[in-house]
Structures are given as structure tokens and as C-alpha cells.
């Protein structure tokens, strides 16, 4: 899923200063799972904003809407009947959703209420962690399921670096060293000799470095 964090309340309030009616958008997909921008978070944020603005003597009207998805035209279309009734859209969807709604309603400004952070998993209840950077050229076969691009702070393909100690990354004591995990996995599977293979320089052209990416399936186009 795509993981996000709600922006600090002060930053959101500052962005909303010029506006007195807000369409507050949530999304039922990833940001609901990571408890950043689902219907529940939309309701909480709406009350916080209303309370704050009422106290300031600048009350605000807020409509709460949580779409099934913000990254698909058919769901975004649902905003059409009422989006123009509001000064601004404040979105708790991920960065994709925020942009996509803006692309559909060009006369509206869509403000971000969350910081989109990573593609990750729920490691345990209330704890999410990054697993993939979408580099477009997967190497998980070579590293037995642990991504060096994402999970090593230096994206090293022939690790571990000299800063790996006690299984922990030098950058953060709560982050496991990706290469310790890879070596452990090689050992577990009786494949430690694979460690000796030198991984060649990566082709980053399939990653963000090659420019914005697009996927076209002619057979699915209407």
C-alpha cells in the first residue's frame, strides 16, 4: 500500500487561511489502511478545523467526502455535482489522488493534508514500514526477497557497508541492516555462496531517473 502521514495541524490551518468553505476528501484505499486519510481521519480533521476556526472567529463550512479511490476517473467523477460549491479542496488521499482530482477539476485548487511517504506493509498493528521504491527492475530474486534499493540507506547492491553493527543500520538504531537480512536469508536457504556474486551497476533508467513512467496496455484501452 501507499503510506502517508497527516501533515501537522498548524501547516494545514495555515494553508486554509484564505478559504471559508472546504471540500475535505478522504480515500477508502491505502490511506484508510494506514490510518492517515480514511473516513475516520477525515471526520477527525474536519472537527479539528471547525473548532479552531470557530475559536478564531472565522468559522468554516466543511463537507466530508471519502471516495472509493482517488486515482480512478470513475470515482473522481462523483465530485462533479458539488465540487464547485466549495472554495478549495483539502485532500487526505496520497500524492497520486491529490494530483488526479486537481487534473479533473482545473478550476479548483487541491491542497495536501498528508505527506505521502512510501510503499509499505503493516509490520504490526499501528506500524508500517517501507518495502519497495518502484525502481522498475526488480532484483528480489537475487537477494532472496529483501530489497537493497529500499531497505539499505545507501541502496548498496554489494553490502553490507562498514556501518552495519549488531544487525542494525548505522543511520537508525531501529532499522535493520538490509544486508544483514540478506546474508541471514542466504544462510537460511543454504545459499551463502551466492554472496560472492558481484552485482553489476544497476540500470536506473527504469526508475524515476528515466523520467515520469507510464504503462500502456493497448489491449485494455477503450
Amino acid at each position: 500500500m501507499i503510506v502517508a502521514d497527516r501533515k501537522p495541524f498548524e501547516e494545514i490551518i495555515e494553508m486554509l487561511k484564505p478559504y471559508s468553505s472546504i471540500l475535505l476528501l478522504g480515500c477508502n484505499e491505502c490511506v484508510t489502511v494506514c490510518a492517515a486519510g480514511g473516513a475516520k481521519e477525515v471526520a477527525v480533521l474536519a472537527s479539528e478545523i471547525k473548532l479552531f476556526r470557530a475559536k478564531e472567529g472565522k468559522p468554516v463550512e466543511i463537507k466530508e467526502v471519502t471516495l472509493e479511490r482517488n486515482c480512478d476517473p470513475e470515482y473522481v467523477e462523483a465530485l462533479k455535482p458539488f465540487i464547485n460549491d466549495f472554495d478549495v479542496v483539502l485532500s487526505m488521499a496520497c500524492g497520486c489522488g491529490i494530483q488526479f482530482v486537481g487534473e479533473h477539476y482545473r478550476n479548483k485548487i487541491v491542497l495536501p493534508a498528508v505527506n505521502t511517504t512510501f510503499y509499505g506493509v503493516t509490520e504490526q498493528h499501528g506500524m508500517w514500514a517501507e518495502r519497495c521504491q518502484g525502481c522498475g527492475n526488480c532484483v528480489l530474486d537475487r537477494t532472496l526477497g529483501i530489497c537493497p534499493v529500499t531497505r539499505c540507506a545507501k541502496s548498496i547492491f554489494n553490502g553490507p557497508c562498514g556501518g552495519s553493527q549488531g544487525g542494525v543500520c548505522e543511520v537508525d538504531k531501529d532499522t535493520p541492516c538490509a544486508w544483514q537480512l540478506i546474508v541471514d536469508r542466504y544462510k537460511e536457504m543454504g545459499m551463502l555462496d551466492r554472496y560472492l556474486e558481484i552485482q553489476p551497476a544497476k540500470d536506473w533508467s527504469t526508475s524515476r531517473d528515466g523520467g515520469p513512467r507510464k504503462r500502456i496496455r493497448e489491449d485494455l484501452k477503450i
Partner: protein
């Protein structure tokens, strides 16, 4: 094949090599480099010039290397993968060779989190292993990483670093074997405080026959004080400072701690020289370069072989 590197000559002649380090200043004053260089001249076979070490902005490694080169020293230009992509790296390799730099040390580089610009974007287009491969391909085959031909190929003696004290320990010798396979010709290790563990690592290195493929220079750092010893243990990632060593420094009166630090360092050199497969030492006297001549003399490693 050999280069014009003094370090390579010394090692190939079978001498026990001595290298040291010069950290460029956080400013544009060449005198700082010259001063450090003059302290080391005659006492070492080559001088490493760090590349924005600990991710703190400093005078570039190539510039400081040139200043030392002009003084007659043989600089080892360090190069990290943190700040340059493969285009900038190869361009700097060509430039360094054109300006008469003979040695290059390939490193991944400290994460920028530890430096003075923690909000910077890092590069890490290639890693230290791939950097070694890349430079050897440029030097030996006259080809860029892309495979295209270089007109006027660079000539460099290629080194790398190794940390015998980082984890997982069991692959640390294999990792050096990989670097040797990638084309590293010499290696300088992390500071050896734990000679016993270093000895174990060397045993694993010998078992893999790596000491016959790459010249191994053991890292040596004299400790100025008990405070420094404690700091290195607790705050420098991948550093192994045994407790008894810290106690020994702590039990020494403050005004005698520097002297004791030098004594510990000389004892380490003695132990290391007795380990089969070690070809030299790399003295990293951090902001204490003036002690290098005394260390080299007291260790019986002076005079250095004449080039």
C-alpha cells in the same frame, strides 16, 4: 601492469608500507593542506586525501591531492559514491589521472545524515564494489562503464577499504574477496584496536587466499585521551574498541594519556606486523598528524624506501 604510484612500487618491492591520511580543511586555504603534508613528508609512502569525510563539506579530494602532489607526496585520492553519479565519477577519474594522481581509493561514503548537510539528497548510483570494477575497466580495458572506448585511458593504482569489525563478521573476509575479484589492488582497513579480532579476520582472509591478491594495510589510530576512546566506541559506527583498552586509558593520569595512546598504538603495530598477510599500516591520526613521524620512527619503520 604498474602505474607511477610510489605506494605500488613500495608494496611490489615487498616492503612493509606506511600510509597516512590528510583531511582537507573546511575552507579554501591551501596552507592547511601544505602544513599537514609537510608533517608527513618523508615518513609515509602515500597519503590518503579524504573525500568530504563524515559527510561534512571540505575542500575537494582532488584539489587537496594536487597540493600534496606538488609537494612531492604520493596522494591516494579517496572517492565516495554518495555525492557523484557514474558520469561525475568517471569524469573525475579522468581528471585525476590527467593531473598526475596515481592512486584512488573506492568507498561508498558515510551517509549524509552524519554530516553538516543532513537534508541533502544522496546519489549512490553505484556502490564501492561497482566503483572498483568501473575504475579497473577504465584503467585496464580503456572502456567506460557504458562499454564505450576511452581515448587516452587513465592510469591508477586502485584501492578499497574494509571493516573487519562490522557485522555480520562471518562474511567480512568474503566481502574483501569480492572486492579483490572486482579488481582492488590494495585495501586499507578500519582502525584496529581489537588486534585479536583482526587476527581472526586475517585468518579467514588467508583461508580464501585473498592476501595473495590484494595488499592489506591495517588501519592504525593513536588515541589522544580516554574521552576519545570512549567516543570512538560509542559514537563511531563499525568501530571496535575493547573495554580493557578504554580502562587502560582511563587509569592513566590525564596529562599522560596521549603518551599512553601512542604506546598502545605502537603495541598494535607490533602485533599487526606479526600477522601473516599484512603488507603495511595506514595511520589515521585524526587532527594529530604531528604524531605520525614519531610513530613511524618508534615503530622502526623509518626511513622509508626511496622512490
Amino acid at each position: 601492469m604498474s602505474t607511477a604510484s610510489n605506494l605500488e612500487k613500495v608494496l611490489k618491492a615487498g616492503n612493509f608500507a606506511v600510509t597516512s591520511e590528510c583531511g582537507p580543511p573546511r575552507g579554501a586555504d591551501p596552507e592547511v593542506v601544505k602544513k599537514k603534508g609537510s608533517l608527513l613528508a618523508g615518513y609515509v609512502d602515500a597519503v590518503n586525501v579524504t573525500d568530504n569525510q563524515t559527510s561534512v563539506v571540505r575542500m575537494s579530494s582532488l584539489s587537496a591531492s594536487l597540493i600534496l602532489k606538488a609537494m612531492g607526496l604520493d596522494p591516494v585520492m579517496q572517492m565516495v559514491c554518495r555525492d557523484r553519479n557514474r558520469i561525475a565519477i568517471q569524469s573525475d577519474v579522468l581528471g585525476a589521472s590527467a593531473l598526475g594522481i596515481n592512486n584512488i581509493l573506492c568507498l561508498s561514503g558515510d551517509h549524509q545524515k552524519f554530516g553538516d548537510h543532513p537534508t541533502a539528497k544522496n546519489v549512490f548510483d553505484i556502490d564501492s564494489m561497482q566503483l572498483i570494477q568501473c575504475i579497473r575497466q577504465m584503467v585496464d580495458d580503456g572502456r567506460f562503464l557504458s562499454g564505450e572506448e576511452i581515448k587516452g585511458k587513465p592510469d591508477l593504482f586502485v584501492g578499497c577499504a574494509a571493516n573487519p569489525f562490522a557485522d555480520p563478521f562471518e562474511i567480512r573476509a568474503m566481502r574483501l574477496a569480492k572486492k579483490a575479484k572486482a579488481g582492488a589492488q590494495f585495501v586499507q582497513t578500519q582502525c584496529v584496536f581489537n588486534a585479536e579480532k583482526f587476527g581472526k579476520w586475517m585468518e579467514m582472509v588467508r583461508d580464501l587466499g585473498v592476501h595473495e591478491k590484494v595488499y592489506i594495510l591495517a588501519g592504525i589510530t593513536p588515541m589522544k585521551s580516554a574521552g576519545m576512546a570512549k567516543y570512538m566506541k560509542s559514537s563511531v559506527p563499525g568501530m571496535d574498541v575493547p573495554d580493557d583498552l578504554i580502562r587502560r586509558m582511563q587509569d592513566t593520569p590525564k596529562e599522560k594519556q596521549a603518551e599512553e595512546g601512542i604506546r598502545i598504538c605502537l603495541e598494535a603495530i607490533e602485533k599487526i606486523r606479526g600477522i601473516k598477510g599484512v603488507s603495511g599500516i595506514h595511520i589515521m591520526a585524526i587532527e594529530w598528524e604531528q604524531m605520525v613521524p614519531e610513530i613511524v620512527r618508534s615503530a622502526g619503520l623509518y626511513p622509508r624506501p626511496q622512490s
